[in-house]
Amino acid sequence: MRWLTWTVWTPLAGALLLALLHRSWHTAIRWWALVVSLATFGLSVGILASFDKSEAGFQLVERHSWIRSFGASYKLGVDGISLFLVLLTTFLVPICVLASWNVSKNPKLFMGFLLALETAVLGVFLSLDLLLFMVFWDAALVPMYFLIGTWGHERRVYAAVKFFLFTLLGGVLMLAGILVLWAQVRGRIGVGTFDLEVIERVPLPLGMQRWLFLAFFAAFAIKVPLFPLHTWLPDAHTEAPTAGSVILAAVLLKMGTYGFLRYSLPLFPEAAREAAPWIAALALVGITYGAIVAAIQRDLKRLVAYSSVAHLGFVVLGIFAFTVIGMQGATLQMINHGLSTGGLFLLVGMLYERRHTRRISDFGGIASVAPVYAGLFLIVALSSLGLPGLNGFVGEFLVLVGAFVVNRTWAIVAATGVLLAAVYLLWAYQRVFHGPIVIEANRQVRDVSARERLVLAPIVAAIVLLGVWPRPLLERMEPSLARVADRVARGSSFSLSNPHSRVVVPIEQAGPDGGGGR
């Protein structure tokens, strides 16, 4: 079975079939979206089941020629880096559907965009062809733009346009980079191709690597976002509807860090090594700056948004430490951040539905009226601040270890981020949940409903499970990440001196039924 193709396209097919339902059939629309997203999750579990954990390279590869004259192909494959990002995506979309159960403004279009977004994101994680990747990358922009711009809060249009422009700018630079890369490859091996596995093996001179690294870096750094390119994020996060914030934080940001691991490091290893100290510095600024700025926010959603800047700083630091441990921590932290920050956005969304405000000072004493909600919020917040026993700790610890063996100062600065996370989260928690109820409206706040329990339970369960049992993930990530680390350590220069490198690279233009699974 072609697990990857099925997984990628099922949501879009489901979205298109939504068109058959009348826009007023709200219940049918919701249930259909839920069924489609659950089916997609089931398919992605199929990927996990057929995944060989000892294999470092791509698995379940499918390949069809697409635009033969440019060497563009429809090529999908999964490895230890993308596997859990795919699962995270398919895991969260049904939760988002369930969390958006009460969207009343054109739910048909809302669910349609959500499912289309899922296809685009899955395509980004699974593409092994740069042009295909680019198409999915830009395609992800569209539904997100509409989700923010149509279903967002007060300043939604400003936020949507800002998000759109930032990402588009990065995307354009990356597109230019991809085209130049294509030309470079063509110049070196005689055939133009977008096939990642082929391009990977074509050594590039350092000067060219630098330019291309920068072009890709622009797109990824904006997406992550790295300081100082982060300013679109608080606005987009804050203005987006709950499901939009969740997908944005949990999955879309990871497109950037995933891009580093999948493209920047393997394709431009020498340039990456040169840039590493600078990028690590930006990551460290992000960790501390994001945390400090988060601490002072008055809007709960903005606080969570800035905490993302800090958390993603950890991920980037782990990646650019170039150690297997650091990268494992970073990749795990991508999943962890998706769960904890996604969870926090869901929780804030629930509070907003009850009180129609996100200002921290409008709350206080919520724990006395909604104890279960308060408890769940605390668990997710503790996961976010890296409490051992929950998932966030494992990732942060591995990143710190990976960074420490490379540069002690990096790790020490990053470790203070762990302290700052406790400051902003617990301070906010106290102001929202503790103390007496002084604002009358807070007395009416209901505790979580059955549907909301269903939304939060899987996330909290995953948070605890990955904290005590991270092994299934770490084991599957390790071979692929070791390959990337090895690639960075050895660089591409070894093959530059090899006169045979031109012929070593096999270019096969597979037929329409070429490729296929293992």
Binding site: G149, A160, V161, W182, T231, I325, S368, H434, V468, P470
Partner: protein
């Protein structure tokens, strides 16, 4: 290197001690049960939690007798549960270590813990969130047991952070009170400052050893670490210990932690969690032994904290706050013990302190229970007749803490002071004696103001003795405080000391086994690093030293007696407070300083960053392309009205541009 340490580290024979994992599993089961079904279980929560705690205690005793029946060198076991974190070629396993040191801690935690659980059944009666209270208490027991049973630094850190969480949850148990919520947050954050230091220490250990496993780290510490690295690791770990065990400069959270229910103060903030720092220094003795500097720092911080806290305790009126500062002070003494090279004495004082301080806190809780929650000692007095059980048991605790001959505290404190003298560190020894005088004073002040003299009760307060489930633990702990000294009569031959010796005094063996050239420890004359059980200075006889220590305590009692039992009108004296009194009352300004730095400067800087830098500058640059953005926003408003088709057209156009560019490039390359 053949040493007892080596043997202990490697001669772990799994299977000989079985099912020790049950010790922490009992309270964990209780916590899970009560968290999920607490509401349905209701009033039965307390008895269930207590029963599970008692089971853990029973299992601890079983394990203890299994271990004690074996030869001294074969008392270490590791129980591996599973591989927790395998990454990048190294693995952290989740495993438990059973050896004399962890067993002593297990018995204290579960024994005192059971008494306090039982007491809580009476104390928390009628609280609407009772099941949750016992869930947290059980969760704490699990976390603390994980901390002391850990066999590697990461599991230790797990327990370390989880006890911090439970402390947070229980200090803030009555979170409706802003003071309680603030105290909880403060405790967690101040502890995290120490934890960052602790975590960096762990990273440094990993970088040097490539493992976090206790056996392998301690077994090879002497050969792997340079003196500088050993000092760095030891001080970083001590940074964490200073947070958890409330030592200068991180002690400020503990007095505030008294906002929690009193049994919590007894269990977490007196008997167990706050002693984790002392435990860690004793546990990592193999590393501390390599650095005379680090040991000196430990002893000095310990004695100075002890003195500072004792002075603040002089002027506290809240009965629990006196005990809180007293705890800080006594923890300081424990650090003096480990710092002058007598870890077993430090641990022994940890044990006796657990008995008498838990007793004193529970007694204070009983007093407050009798007075409907009032804790102000200026409004007590003459309670001896009204609540005799509480009074008598608390007096036993008082005798123990001031080191009255024969009580538990007498032996343990004496051994620490004698050790300080013998180590040749005169200033620490003399300051230690001064602390003993202070302890005698402020503890006597507490007892006299509470139980003796004229009654100063508010009108309408009718004290009553606590129910049996509260009195029974008091009696049990009073017996332990009175007789606990029998376990460790002397630093050389006491039972506990000999039991602990293979684990904590190992390092004297490994030190001797080192080659002469090793630049590890400058053993100055009369100064040994660690585990120096042989006396180094014998000008004063043991009897004279004991006499001085006991006399110091009694001197303090005498002074307090003159002041608070005689004719002296101390309440009127307050109308003209001395400068020293006011300084102590203001906690010597330390809390204010932190408040200024954190809430003042820190908050201002954060605001500046958030609003001036982020919004104006960084985002300003973005919006500096401003008008463009604004115009596009207007355009966006048009797009957003639902013309998906127009967007699709844009996308299509984009695609055309891409293809065009491709063709162009291909053209050029041809």
């Amino acid at each position: 290197m053949v040493s007892v340490a080596g043997i202990l580290a490697h001669a772990v024979s799994p299977g000989a001690v079985e099912n020790a994992w049950l010790i922490p599993a009992f309270p964990l089961a209780g916590a899970v049960l009560l968290l999920f079904f607490g509401r349905r279980i209701g009033r039965a929560a307390g008895p269930i939690a207590t029963l599970l705690m008692a089971s853990a205690f029973g299992m601890g005793l079983v394990t203890f007798f299994q271990v004690i029946g074996r030869p001294a060198a074969e008392r270490g076991f590791v129980e591996t549960l599973y591989r927790w974190i395998p990454a990048g070629g190294f693995t952290v396993t989740a495993d438990y270590r059973i050896d004399p040191l962890s067993l002593v801690m297990v018995l204290v935690v579960t024994g005192v813990g059971t008494a306090i659980h039982l007491y809580s059944v009476g104390y928390m009666k009628g609280d609407p969130r009772e099941p949750r209270y016992f869930a947290f208490l059980n969760l704490f027991a699990f976390s603390m047991l994980t901390l002391v049973l850990a066999n590697n630094f990461l599991v230790l850190y797990l327990g370390w952070e989880l006890v911090g969480l439970c402390s947070y949850l229980l200090i803030g148990f009555w979170f409706e009170r802003p003071a309680a919520a603030t105290a909880a947050k403060k405790a967690f954050i101040v502890n995290r400052v120490g934890d960052v230091s602790f975590a960096i220490g762990i990273l440094l250990i990993f970088a040097n050893f490539g493992t976090l496993d206790f056996g392998r780290v301690f077994g090879s510490a002497a050969t792997v670490l340079s003196a500088g690295t050993a000092t760095a690791i030891a001080l970083l770990l001590f940074g964490g210990a200073a947070g958890k065990s409330a030592q200068f400069p991180l002690y400020v959270w503990l007095p505030d932690a008294m906002e929690g229910p009193t049994p919590v103060s007894a269990l977490i903030h007196a008997a167990t969690m706050v002693t984790a720092g002392v435990y860690v220094v004793a546990r990592t003795g193999a590393i501390f032994a390599l650095s005379a500097t680090a040991l000196d720092v430990v002893a000095w911080i310990g004695v100075l904290t002890a003195l500072l806290a004792a002075l603040i305790a002089f002027v506290q009126d809240d009965i629990k706050r006196v005990l809180a500062y007293s705890t800080i002070s006594q923890l300081g003494l424990m650090f003096v013990g480990v710092g002058v090279g007598l870890p077993a004495a430090g641990i022994f004082h940890l044990v006796t302190h657990a008995f008498f301080k838990a007793l004193l806190f529970l007694g204070a809780g009983s007093v407050m229970h009798a007075l409907a929650g009032r804790a102000d000692m200026t409004k007590m007095g003459g309670l001896f007749r009204k609540i005799p059980w509480t009074a008598v048991t608390m007096i036993v605790g008082w005798l123990a803490i001031i080191g009255f001959p024969g009580t538990a505290g007498f032996f343990s404190k004496d051994q620490i002071l004698e050790g300080a003298y013998r180590s040749g560190n005169n200033p620490v020894w003399i300051l230690g004696l001064l602390v003993t005088v202070c302890t005698g004073f402020y503890m006597s002040r507490l007892v006299f103001l509470t139980f003796f003299g004229k009654s100063r009760l508010d009108p309408g307060v009718h004290p009553h003795e606590s129910p049996p489930e509260m009195v029974f633990p008091l009696v049990a702990l009073a017996l332990a405080a009175a007789l606990g000294g029998l376990f460790g009569l002397s630093a050389e031959s006491g039972r506990i000391q000999r039991f602990l010796a293979p684990v904590v005094v190992q390092e004297s063996g490994s030190l001797e086994a080192l080659p002469e050239s090793a630049p590890l420890l400058s053993v100055g004359e009369g100064r040994a690093g660690w585990g120096a059980s042989a006396p180094h200075r014998t000008v004063l006889s043991p009897l004279a030293l004991t006499g001085m220590a006991t006399g110091a305590g009694l001197l303090g009692v005498l002074a307090a007696g003159l002041m608070y039992l005689g004719r002296f009108d101390w309440l009127r004296r307050r109308e003209r407070p001395s400068l020293a009194w006011r300084a102590a009352r203001n906690k010597f300004g330390v809390d204010d300083l932190y408040g200024f730095l954190f809430a003042g400067v820190g908050r201002l800087a954060a605001s500046a960053l958030a609003y001036a830098v982020d919004l104006r500058f960084v985002d300003g640059i973005v919006n500096g392309v401003g008008t463009v953005t604004a115009r596009l926003a207007a355009a966006g408003r048009r797009v957003q009205t639902g013309f998906v088709r127009s967007y699709a057209a844009v996308l299509l156009a984009g695609g055309v541009v891409v293809l065009g560019a491709l063709l162009l490039i291909e053209e050029r390359l041809r």
